[in-house]
């Protein structure tokens, strides 16, 4: 600590660091034991209980947290699960566009998403909800049906509108979080720190798109189904009692790949790219097609767009 830095009351700068460390350690174990006794979360380790907010962790602490998580996942699933923490790609704001004139409602995206992002399987949490809408009504959500299950899609007189997290520029979910466990990253992805989320579900109430989902029970996912390529803020296996959401496949897109839902779409309805890149597909869509935002009147300012490609 430098002389110029103001003394934090909690950091105990007067004390020698070793003493501070041992006292903190002791307190940590004691607090964790009490917390375990009170909350019944006997699986919660002292380190996890004392882990700071992800955004406030030092680089070393992030590595420690990741190492701990990887160890826990290995014990739980019996295989190596890599937990990444790739930062946003500089000069990138992700945008997504979905062609309503092409989507046929086959739900390939819904299930590819579940597979990629390690959602609970029983009951299955799905980050994408495909709405069947009536052509006569247009985008009228009062006439939306999400449980449609005919032999073949598209059904006559209907069109299909997949809804997932719209990665808003003004995300109401972030605004209401009482603990700051969810935020918008520099590349426009709204993420959740599952280790900081307290499960109050305010964000679910605030989201006008129904894009957030809660782990009411211990998430169930067979070891063989776990996707081992994960990101701390994305698809790593979640604990019970936290909220989760679409992250544009943060573990893929920050490595330059397309999201899983886009790659599986048989009709090519889904377009993804960097809004700041004038040459990108997404910019072409925004500049040349008829585009709208879902519930634009709420001023959430989504980076997810719907368009008519035909």
């Amino acid at each position: 600590m430098t002389a110029q830095e103001p003394c934090q009351p909690s950091s105990g700068c007067q004390c020698p660091s070793t003493e501070e460390g041992s006292r903190r350690e002791f307190l940590g174990v004691a607090v964790a034991a009490v917390a375990a006794a009170l909350t019944g979360c006997e699986k919660l380790s002292a380190e996890e209980f004392l882990q700071d907010k992800f955004t406030e962790l030092s680089k070393d602490d992030v590595q420690k947290v990741i190492a701990r998580l990887e160890k826990e996942y290995k014990e739980k699933y019996g295989k190596e699960v890599k937990v990444g923490n790739a930062p946003p790609v500089p000069g990138t704001i992700f945008g997504y566009a979905l062609d309503l004139s092409r989507c046929i409602g086959c739900r390939r995206c819904v299930h590819a998403c579940v597979k990629e992002n390690n959602q609970s399987r029983e009951p299955e949490i799905q980050w994408i909800k495909v709405l069947e809408l009536e052509k006569e009504e247009g985008v009228n959500l009062q006439h939306a049906e999400q449980y449609y299950n005919p032999d073949e899609v598209p059904r006559e007189g209907h069109f299909y509108m997949p809804v997932q997290c719209q990665q808003c520029k003004k995300p109401p979910c972030v605004k209401v979080c009482p603990v700051g466990a969810t935020w918008r990253e520099k590349d426009g992805i709204v993420v959740v720190d599952y280790n900081w989320c307290i499960g109050c579900r305010y964000c679910m109430a605030a989201c006008p798109y129904g894009a957030r989902h809660f782990n009411w029970g211990e998430p169930t996912i067979a070891a063989k189904d776990v996707n081992p390529e994960t990101h701390y803020l994305g698809n790593r296996p979640r604990p019970k009692g936290v909220v989760e959401k679409c992250t544009f496949c943060i573990q893929r897109t920050r490595q330059g790949k397309y999201p899983a839902c886009l790659e599986v779409c048989p009709t090519g309805s889904r377009k993804f790219g960097n809004l700041l890149d004038k040459e990108s597909e997404i910019r072409y869509v925004l500049e040349n097609k008829r585009v709208f935002k879902l519930k634009e009147e709420l001023n959430t300012q989504p980076n997810f767009f719907y368009f008519y490609g035909v």
Binding site: R102, R107, G256
Partner: protein, 190 residues
């Protein structure tokens, strides 16, 4: 309710290639999207091999001009290629409007210029110019690979059978569980 295809897809269909039966999708050719204009001529886009029915190409293995003179009379085929039923464009259209009678392993444009099966999008683009334009920039059809780098492209015929180009309906994957069903499984609503 009847299960007919959506009419709004119709304008999205690619046209004019006649002898390709779309079966398998093979695809491993990469291309830098932004470098495209430099690497390949403007009317050329690198694409995977066309999805031929196995054993059907090259056409010249049967259509040997020395053994069989091409019959250019407009007719319904009775001996060969009977599995092909043409649902594409006007009734008067037939095989040799797109396939070349004298260079069997090629297609031809309206002006007679030969086009290989690997660049059949040029033929499709004669009628569906707006789709070709969107396809070149990656908005019509699917791109896979990297959003900021190498992408894999598909030919029109990988998704649209040129003889019957309407995108075929699919069986939807299972719907989400209803809350009641989840409650029932857990012993009913509390």
């Amino acid at each position: 309710m009847t299960q007919t295809p959506r009419p709004s897809i119709l304008p999205g269909l690619f046209a004019c290639v006649l002898a390709l039966a779309a079966t398998a999708v093979t695809a491993e050719e990469h291309k830098k999207p932004h470098a495209a204009a430099v690497e390949v001529p403007k009317d050329q886009v690198q694409v995977p091999k066309p999805p031929f029915t196995e054993g059907i190409f090259p056409c010249s293995q049967c259509h040997d001009p020395s053994a069989m003179a091409p019959n250019q009379k407009r007719r319904v085929l009775k001996d060969m290629h009977t599995e092909i039923s043409l649902h594409h464009g006007p009734d008067t259209r037939w095989c040799l409007d797109c396939h070349d009678a004298f260079s069997r392993d090629n297609l031809h444009l309206a002006n007679g210029k030969l086009v290989s099966f690997n660049t059949s999008y040029q033929l499709c683009g004669q009628c569906h110019g707006d789709k070709l334009r969107d396809w070149r920039v990656g908005v019509h059809g699917k791109r896979t690979g990297m959003w900021n780098g190498a992408k894999q492209y598909l030919l029109c015929v990988h998704c649209h059978n040129p003889h019957s180009p309407h995108f075929k309906p699919l069986k939807p994957m299972p719907p989400p569980a209803r809350p009641e069903a989840i409650q029932l499984k857990n012993g009913g609503a509390k």
